[in-house]
């Protein structure tokens, strides 16, 4: 059984947000409900400032605090390492959103975050779904938090569970340049133009992700919190993983 993990090379990431858009299209997300996002932030004070960006999917932690706090076991860790939400068990208490250090969980029954029209009102649903996107990917699996969600549940990145779970057994590298594996690779990895993302089996010593982590000193975001992310960042010489919450409030 594979333990899927992702490596993001910050030296290659251009902050183009193609991953964010691909994720939104693949998973039929609302505007603002960015399971995958690239956070832009400033560091330093004028005149010595830098614009930085930081791609941030769900970390699919090995020791996920969101799973531990869920009072109904709606949030769970799959055998292959994805942290998923069973939308038929979720009671919408939002405790997992409180407990996630990475801010990657979303509750869509709220006012639009982006100031635009409310897409849920523009494209309402007449069944149990929370809305009907004008274009929607075909997959739907509420037990694994895939598809358009019902009302009043928490949603999150699934590592494209609907794609990855169908990968041929024994695969350790999900390389989007391989036509046989492309459709099983997470959408953000497939779309990444500079090839900054790698996806593979963290349990296989020879996998590309492990090779990259070893060769380029892969680090994990907020590692001191003990959640042990399965997403690793390569920082190299030109980039860094923020040691704090990235968005520094002006206080």
């Amino acid at each position: 059984m594979a333990k899927w993990g992702m490596v993001i090379d910050l030296e290659k990431c251009t902050g183009c947000q193609a991953c964010t858009v691909a994720c939104g299209m693949e998973n039929s997300r609302l505007p603002g409900e960015h399971w995958q996002d690239v956070i832009f932030f400033n560091e330093g004070t004028y005149p010595n400032t830098q614009l930085k960006w930081f791609p941030r999917p769900c970390m699919q932690c090995e020791n996920p605090s969101c799973v531990a706090v869920c009072p109904t076991k709606a949030t769970y860790k799959s055998e292959e390492g994805q942290v998923l939400v069973d939308w038929e068990r979720c009671i919408g208490c939002k405790y997992c959103m409180i407990a996630c250090p990475y801010g990657v969980r979303f509750y869509t029954d709220e006012k639009p975050a982006y100031g635009g029209p409310d897409m849920k009102e523009a494209f309402p649903s007449d069944d149990a779904h929370s809305w009907t996107p004008p274009w929607k990917a075909p997959q739907e699996d509420w037990k694994h938090g895939v598809g358009v969600q019902p009302h009043d549940v928490v949603s999150k990145c699934t590592f494209c569970y609907h794609r990855v779970s169908k990968v041929p057994a024994g695969t350790i590298n999900l390389d989007p340049s391989d036509p046989k594996l492309r459709e099983h690779t997470p959408a953000c990895v497939v779309t990444c133009a500079p090839g900054a993302r790698f996806f593979g089996d963290l349990d296989a010593p020879d996998s590309e992700v492990n090779r990259q982590i070893a060769a380029k000193n892969g680090v994990r975001l907020l590692d001191h919190l003990g959640n042990k992310p399965q997403v690793y960042y390569l920082t190299g010489e030109g980039a860094s993983v923020p040691a704090d919450r990235a968005v520094k409030p002006k206080i």
Binding site: T20, G32, E33, H34, D37, V38, I39, F40, F54, R56, S65, V67, A68, V69, C70, P71, T72, K73, A74, R89, C90, I91, G92, C93, K94, Y95, M97, I98, A99, C100, P101, Y102, G103, V104, R105, Y107, T108, D109, E110, K111, A113, Y114, D118, K120, H151, D152, V153, L221, L222, L225, G226, P242, A243, D244, R245, A246, V247, P249, K250, I251
Partner: protein, 428 residues
Amino acid sequence: MIARTEPKSVGEVFALFGRLYRENGPLGFTRLALTLGKTPTPAGRWWLWSVLLTVVAGLFVLYQLFTVGHSAFNTSSGGVVWGMPIATYVYFALISSGLTMIASLGTVFGFKQFLPIAKRCIFLSIITLVAAFSVLALELGHPFRMIWAMPTGLQVMSPMFWMGIFYTIDLILLIIKFYLMWQEDWESPLSHAVGVAGFVAVILASGMLGMVFGSMVMRPMWYGPFTSIYFMLTAGLCGAAAIVVTTYMAYGFNRNAMPERLRAMASGHDLPMVFATLIGLTLIMFVTRFWVGLWSNLDGMEGFRLLVRTPLFHIELWLGLVLPFVMMLMPGLQRRMWPQITASFLVLGAMFINRYEFVIGGQMIPMFKGTWAFSVPAYTPSATEWALTAMGFGIALALYAGGEKLFHLSDLPPHAEDVEVTGQLVIS
């Protein structure tokens, strides 16, 4: 006019209602129920207004939830995900816990001078917990799903799971204890055991509610074992303030109308001493929490600096805690009625601010949220959230007034010395 004592069994209650229905007809019965009997009582005056408040606020919330859904709240995935309804839930849940602790002074720990308020404490503890659960149920996305998903999920790692377990046990034990008191069984081994178990349950429940927040290492403004202790001790203060306010309310804010034992307690030394001690403990913890928070550089602690700049913080500290503390320490004021009432109201107001700033303040510094969350989230409760809070207050007040009419909440154990039976329920 029929003078009645408190009905002594559930059967008697239904028989009474049945007789009233037959004698007065449907319209007359409804009118009697709405006015809580023809004879006005001090607590009964609160009934109509609180029922009205509950109905209006509750209908508004339900209308919003059915038409708009939880989008009617101003909470946001980008920052404050637990809004004012959660603060209101914590407020009422901890008032309930505190009332059980205060009741236990007399029923468990043998401080007989506190027995005159024990029954009222237990009753109020039940109804404030009902108010807390009602608010929480309307805040949750799927409250009914919780009923089967929590027992079948058995996520023993979740503090929220244990909070639910212990508050449910707490509620059941409170109802049993109240039933036994209603049956005038205060001191049998069973009644004592229920009291002890109830006290243990309430310590665990309030501690577990503290742990819901205190275990969140990624939210340093909440994190730490201190949080559970903070919740337990401040619960005690909330309970003390609530029982002082409601006991005076029951007698129309007139100490002379009280039974002798109760009057003696209200004008004695022990009540202000306990009250002042609890305010003092709260002040120490409150100041310690902010002191440490303001000093620390840890990422996420910046919220403390935001909080001390709000007027609410200063209203809470100076008006809601320091002033009542001084009032309860001053020999010339501490035993007088109006200073006691004023101090209690101020403390109840301050503790609402406290729960609000605890819950909201702890989420002010956003996580790695992304494109739409640039800075400190702006959160102001929406009309629906205010209405939900108002509904919580309405439920607590209405059930209190109803209970004041139905039961003798100032009852003492049947064999207690100097028992004075007054305040009989009068229903025409």
